[in-house]
């Protein structure tokens, strides 16, 4: 959508918001048809505004946009999915925030990325499922958002030699962008050991649908390695810490303190 004044309708997830003036909000949207855009939602901070509840973070809406001088203007909003299950849970809010943060950081303005849009919508749905392993949802989402954005690590061929990898203990390198075999890892610094059980889960996650992955029971040690590998990859690519991950850590610490009240504040 290029020329001024033109109107378009698209599905969108609200990634970020900030206040603008007395009653308006500046909103970052990830839209199905136009990618990541910034738009003004007018008057929505007043509780009586019809669209107020519709411009909420991490909800799916159908928006009508018109192009203003510098920014898009949201002229209509219809809520399609509020993902209410996310709102009552600090962990789920933290993960939803991480999903949005990743799209916000990786996506280039106004570039349509349909796989990433579908993945974000699906990811928020998966997070809403009762009893789901939230860490597993997040790892699956992280891996596939990297893929959708064109940064997928190599899991099937050696990132240095290019030969097919055997199902055995391997190494991982964020700099090389994937798994490296023992021979090619020799003599290189910044190689992380990748034990076979972790390697297997990574490969399984890469080529399977979520419905297959969600039934897996992943132990804490494997979870720890999965998180380290994926988060180190993301931080390396973005050259920035993930704010939502810091928040999730704080939420977990607070909970542990409440379970063990002897722990000082």
């Amino acid at each position: 959508m290029s020329s001024r004044g033109r109107v378009a309708k698209t599905r969108a997830i609200i990634l970020r918001r900030s206040d603008l003036g007395e009653a308006d909000r500046l909103v970052t949207l990830f839209t199905e048809d136009y990618g990541k855009i910034r738009a003004v939602a007018k008057g929505v901070r007043k509780p009586t505004a019809k669209a107020a509840g519709h411009v909420e973070l991490y909800t799916l809406a159908e928006v009508v946009l018109s192009k203003g001088r510098d920014l898009y203007i949201i002229t209509q909003v219809e809520l399609l999915e509020p993902f209410l299950a996310l709102q009552g849970d600090l962990h789920r809010i933290g993960y939803a925030s991480l999903f949005a943060e990743l799209v916000d950081r990786f996506a280039v303005d106004e570039m349509q990325i349909p796989e990433a849009f579908d993945l974000l919508v699906n990811g928020l749905n998966w997070l809403s499922e009762p009893g789901v392993d939230l860490r597993l949802v997040s790892r699956y989402y992280e891996m596939h958002i990297l893929n959708a954005m064109g940064y997928a690590p190599t899991f099937f061929t050696c990132a240095i030699g290019g030969e097919r990898l055997q199902p055995e203990d391997q190494f991982y390198s964020v700099i090389e962008g994937g798994v490296v075999c023992r021979d090619h890892a020799a003599g290189h610094v910044n190689m992380t050991a990748l034990p076979l059980p972790v390697f297997k889960v990574l490969r399984h996650m890469m080529r399977s649908e979520w419905e297959t992955i969600k039934v897996l029971t992943v132990g804490p040690l494997i979870h720890h390695d999965l998180q380290r590998i994926l988060h180190n990859t993301i931080i390396f690519l973005l050259e920035k810490r993930l704010q939502s991950v810091d928040f999730l850590r704080r939420v977990t610490e607070l909970e542990e303190r409440n379970i063990d009240p002897g722990h000082p504040f």
Binding site: R16, L20, A51, E56, T59, I93, D104, F247, L254, F265
Partner: protein
């Protein structure tokens, strides 16, 4: 801005433009208004601006903005010092005071949790709230953060921090706006209103 304007004029236009919600057009309009207005208008404004920063501070108890600390609300013996309304911003205190029906005190967090913007629990006056409750017995903490995602997250975080101290915690109901038609109320608000429904008195 064009070169024909004296620096003292462009300086004020620039200063106004830095305010939230003020574009360059509004900034110019305000500046020209002050140029034409009687001198006491701009003198009163400049005095108010200086006093805003030199005379105000945060109340040591509730962290609201005040000229004297503790603030008048925290010093008021007729107010119930054991009931605390927790709000995001000083303007929320003004809104609650406007109801004229609240007789307790406040705690101003100065923001709401927003992980994506990097605003975490440490950026808010949360630790201060816990210390305050530990120092002096409190009967009830009423959480009055905004009814949106950030406000909800903040409310849950406050609850988790305060709960171990054995204080009663309540949250403002998320109701329907008065004067509106039910058919125009958005789905989220309506669902929240159902969740927060009460007995008819």
């Amino acid at each position: 801005m064009s070169q024909v304007l004296p620096p003292s004029v462009t300086k004020l236009i620039d200063a106004f433009s830095r305010l939230p919600g003020v574009g360059s057009k509004t900034a110019s309009r305000l500046t020209y208004y002050l140029l034409r207005a009687p001198e006491d208008v701009s003198l009163a404004l400049s005095e108010a601006l200086v006093e805003l920063k030199t005379k105000t501070q945060y109340c040591e108890i509730c962290h609201n903005i005040t000229e004297d600390s503790p603030c008048p609300v925290c010093r008021d013996v007729r107010r119930d010092q054991t009931t605390i309304v927790v709000v995001e911003d000083p303007l929320d205190v003004v809104a609650v005071e406007r109801t004229g029906s609240y007789r307790g005190v406040y705690h101003v967090l100065h923001g709401a949790i927003s992980p994506v913007d990097g605003i975490g629990p440490d950026h808010l006056k949360l630790k201060e709230l816990v210390e305050r409750i530990e120092a002096k017995p409190v009967a009830e903490v009423i959480i009055a953060t905004n009814p949106n995602m950030e406000g909800e997250a903040t409310a849950m975080y406050v609850k988790q921090m305060v709960e171990p101290l054995g204080v009663k915690i309540t949250r403002l109901a998320r109701g329907l706006p008065s004067g509106g038609d039910l058919e125009y109320v958005d789905t989220v608000t309506l669902m929240r209103a159902f969740e927060g429904r009460g007995d008819m008195k």
